[in-house]
Amino acid sequence: MKKPVFNVEFLDRNGELKGNSRRSFLKNTGLLVAGTGLFMYSCSDDELNEELLVADAHAATKRAGQSFNLGKGDIAILNYAYVLEQLEAAFYEKVLEGEYYKGANAEERGILQDLYYHEVIHREFLKTALNSVAPPGKVAPDLILNFSGVDFDDRETVLTIAQILEDTGVSAYNGAGNLLENPEYLLVAGKIVSVEARHAAAIRDLLDPGTTNFASPDILVNLLGTGPAYDKALDPNVVLSAVAATGFLETKIITNNIPTE
């Protein structure tokens, strides 16, 4: 039986598939693998545990159903953040529900539990803030999320997805900062993004301990030719397209009125 699976393919710098090394795969993982997004297709159960598949942005099917328009102005950005935090919190909730992956040691469990707590707190905080400033019906609903294709018992899968979510969260907040008008919102977004970066560094270190993976040149970008010493700052549409491509988020997010500068 075929079922949708999330597996992330490693494409090397020449865009060629490398099915073997999980380690090198991880170094290049990001929601924008090879600049084209994640690719997804289904495969048989036999191949599930062994093969690294690829999630295709074009092939991801969405059930007809829930959609939400982020709105405009600062409310749109707060909703955007709330969407991302819902996604993260739901993922970690699944990780904990499944009693972590096989072989998770005490440190790893502690980290994942903390990440769960923090994302729930971020989520609920943003929900509360939105409910107090946005008109009724303008706050994102509980999203329809689908992690059914994820093998939560596999360490590399879980940590890789966590890494992607955290790195993406950092780049999302960084890219949204200058779209905010209210300095109070900018400050609180700033308070959250550095915590997401701390998360990202810790997960990356779990994946490749004691190395430069926590802030690898592979995830950073070069500004003004000074070197790859900067986190990405991505446009909300870029982030949301990549999120949609994972297949985790089934709710369609509409961004036609969000701030663009």
């Binding site: 502690g110 960084n174 700033g190 959250i192 550095s194 970066a197 004691g210 802030a215 000074t226």
Partner: protein, 268 residues
């Protein structure tokens, strides 16, 4: 206040000759006499938590807001501090082989950050300061790796809070604000890694730390639980409680608070 002269008043020369253990020499300082700890480290480093709390809460509407060039020069001073600190650390041999790649990377980042800030200042950059990371011999970060790590952590966590505190001042310059955010999150990655290398969590719990309490100013205000006027304490008892609430948000420091911390290391 001339910090070096102040420290020369330390009346226990034997202290500086005490064999260095893995524990910080600052803990030795404290053990030699509690009063000595308070007297010997400049008061500016001690937490002034009520002041910080007030400053944090009024951050967004602070009457004083630095100009763009002041913010950039402020950041540049911190990046010079970090860059020079890591350069000296790498040159000194205090860093074990296994960790050299990590600090080499962090150093490279700080070099880049110095360059971008100078470029953004376009001729208006302040002269590069000189630093004494030993505080006239009171600290030995380039001999005792534990002390080097403590200072590294202090500098990175301070850096995160420093950039955060100035984001508002850059709100009218989209490009510079974005650059600042892109630097700020990398400093947070640094901080997370160094903290975990020292056996702390990558994130800050309340205002707690295992670096010497003489550096408590670095974490003052991190116990805050109020965000956008909403007190989150008590709402997450099944989700890590107040510990998690304080971990989930990093708090800013004002320019004055950061300068008070960094300034003790500046000799000119």
């Amino acid at each position: 206040m001339n910090i070096i002269k102040f420290l020369e008043n330390l009346s226990d020369p034997g202290l500086l000759n005490t064999p260095i253990s893995r524990r910080s020499s600052l803990i030795d300082l404290k053990n030699k006499g509690k009063d000595l700890a308070l007297v010997s480290i400049p008061f500016a480093l001690a937490a002034t938590s009520s002041k910080t709390k007030a400053a944090t809460m009024s951050m967004a509407s602070a009457a004083f807001q630095a100009s763009v060039n002041e913010v950039l020069n402020f950041a540049l001073t911190l990046e010079y501090l970090e860059r020079d600190f890591y350069e000296e650390g790498l040159d000194s041999g205090v860093i074990p082989q296994a960790d050299r790649d990590i600090f080499g990377l962090i150093y490279d980042h700080e070099v880049s950050h110095v360059e971008i800030l100078k470029a953004a200042l376009d001729g208006n950059d302040r002269p590069r300061p000189t630093f004494d990371f030993t505080l006239g011999g009171a600290l030995n970060p380039f001999e005792d790796y534990a002390v080097f790590l403590e200072l590294s952590q202090a500098f990175e966590d301070t850096g995160v809070r420093a950039y955060k505190g100035q984001a508002g001042a850059l709100i009218d310059n989209n490009t510079l604000l974005e650059y600042a955010l892109q630097i700020h999150s990398v400093e947070a990655r640094h901080a997370s890694q160094i903290r975990r290398m020292r056996g702390e969590k990558g994130w800050i719990t309340r205002n707690e730390t295992t670096i010497p309490s003489s550096f408590s100013a670095v974490y003052a205000g991190e116990e805050n639980t109020v965000q956008l006027g909403i007190d989150l304490a008590g709402r997450f008892n099944n989700f890590g409680g107040v510990d998690a609430v304080t971990e989930a948000f990093d708090e800013p420091l004002t320019m004055a608070e950061v300068n008070a911390i960094a300034g003790i290391f500046i000799t000119s």
